[in-house]
Symmetry: C2
Subunit: 283 residues, 2 copies
DNA sequence: CGGATTCATATCCTGGCGGTATGAGTACAC
DNA sequence: GTGTACTCATACCGCCAGGATATGAATCCG
């Protein structure tokens, strides 16, 4: 049962990149420019791809290009496959370095104070190697783990865990951060209904979205936004002009350790063990 | 941050296939034969791959080939990436068929009797399309889901859920199937300790491993092996010469519905909903 | 020490892939 | 309705990537 439904040649990474570019641009000319090539060979490559798959991927008139159902399927799967290929290259290049490191992806200040303990426990283990910290914003940890830039991650409840193994470490409530001058700041406890309609950091347009804690604090102090940090983060960042209040019905935040599910590296295993140990001791 | 750590060209599917073949054979000549090509171009391709990755993948003397640490990393990741590429092709080809079907992978008799109900509930939904059943042995369901031959699976507690989303449907105890003539058959209840040392179907060498229920039953009746079927399966297969007994400390079996985690097909969603509904009604 | 085995090197050649020039179909202005 | 601009398809050319064959070099074994 090596290859039962064989209906033509082999998919190639180059073709997948071409197709993704066109599917995203829906325009052969622009896609060709983005790929750094001319339009005709691109047209021909897609036609060849369609022939080999026995599937029409794009509806095209001379004025409009659109995806077929099959094209939509390929777009999703091609992105996943390309990600896997680049991850393979990145991980291999890293593994070949004279002294490979354990690359830990995390979001600054979202370690619930566990990081120093975890690192200490990790370094005591035999399988431990040097650690590189990879700081990133919301969601970048998952991306880094999937595309091979990181080996293990420390992150609050991953939304998109596809391809990752996850181990929860610590669950803690989130608070709401308000301007001290906010009318609601007088009340010791709030509910989500009280906060309905308030802007969160993610609600701002990308151009003015805050990129770090200092920017978030400024916007909170001004009353532009409110913010739901985990309790441990709030406790470590007392700040004039900003108050924290409990919110009765706000879902808590769970700090997790995550790693690519096909990973067999002893260093990653050691890190996960260390994290589990420290969280058990803390919990 | 398009491609920060750029250290040479692009990995290609062809090269990954070459590398996997060599890594598995650890012999250039045999790998070349398997790939249907001559040995020299294969050697050159691997050398080029190593140059582009900046990583030595294989230690070779004229008499022995072995994987380096980096090669081991690439072998794992290349397999995953190749699987993703062939899955993309298979799914696209299937989606392009005039009337695509929902391909349900399952293990015969391991549906806990839920399948008819699930199919009925599924077909009542608007998003339902025709169903193809894909029967396979242990572990083949996961494989089929990952490589694009199946869209959704019904399977007992998947061991290797990498890249799959899983929803548990029904947990039920497993029993032990014994020859009626077995001394232990006199006792109403057993423990794992009583059965220590007995052969299970998986313990047999691949050549004589049973491939279906009839073969398993024969071996059980002969006393060659014992077997741990889920209760619902045992109930539907009473059989002369074989008795079922409860085992106090045997882990139960959970029937699950599983699907590729990046899937957005409405037909799959409908099937999962139907399965959840039926299992809730049954539970 | 000689033969067998196996990976590397040298050289040739074909076909795939990209480029340029041009055709053809469609939307839109007026 | 007709011209114009836009965009995808076709035709054709040229280069080099990648495969084949022949041979060399290194190691193991008797």
């Amino acid at each position: 049962m090596s290859t039962p439904e064989w209906s033509g040649g082999e998919l190639e990474v180059r073709e997948l990149r071409y197709f993704v570019a066109i599917a995203e641009e829906l325009h052969f000319g622009r896609a060709a420019t983005r790929l750094g090539m001319a339009q005709p060979p691109l047209s021909r490559a897609i036609r060849e791809l369609e022939r080999r798959l026995g599937a029409q991927l794009l509806e095209r008139t001379t004025r409009r290009v659109s995806l077929t159902a099959a094209g939509d399927v390929l777009l999703r799967d091609a992105r996943v496959a390309l990600e896997a290929v680049t991850a393979a290259a990145r991980r291999t290049r890293h593994a070949a370095r004279p002294a490979p490191t354990l690359r830990v992806a995390l979001k600054a200040d979202y370690d619930a104070g566990l990081l120093p303990g975890i690192l200490a426990a990790y370094h005591e283990q035999a399988a431990a190697i040097a650690v590189d910290l990879l700081l990133g914003g919301r969601g970048e940890q998952e991306q880094a783990l999937r595309d091979g830039r990181a080996d293990v991650g420390l992150l609050p409840t991953p939304a998109e865990a596809r391809g990752l193994d996850v181990e929860p470490l610590l669950t803690e409530p989130r608070l709401v951060a308000l301007a001290a001058t906010d009318p609601l700041a007088d009340r010791p406890t709030l509910s989500l209904a009280d906060l309905h309609g308030r802007l969160l950091p993610d609600d701002l347009p990308a151009s003015s979205a805050p990129r770090d804690l200092a920017q978030i604090f400024m916007l909170v102090e001004l009353g532009t936004i409110i913010w739901y940090p985990p309790r441990s983060l709030a406790e470590r960042h007392p700040r004039l002009g900003v108050v924290y209040r409990r919110v009765t019905d706000l879902t808590p935040s769970t700090l997790c350790v995550a790693w690519p599910s096909d990973c067999r590296s002893p260093a990653v295993a050691a890190f996960v063990r260390a994290a589990a140990t420290v969280s058990a001791a803390a919990g």
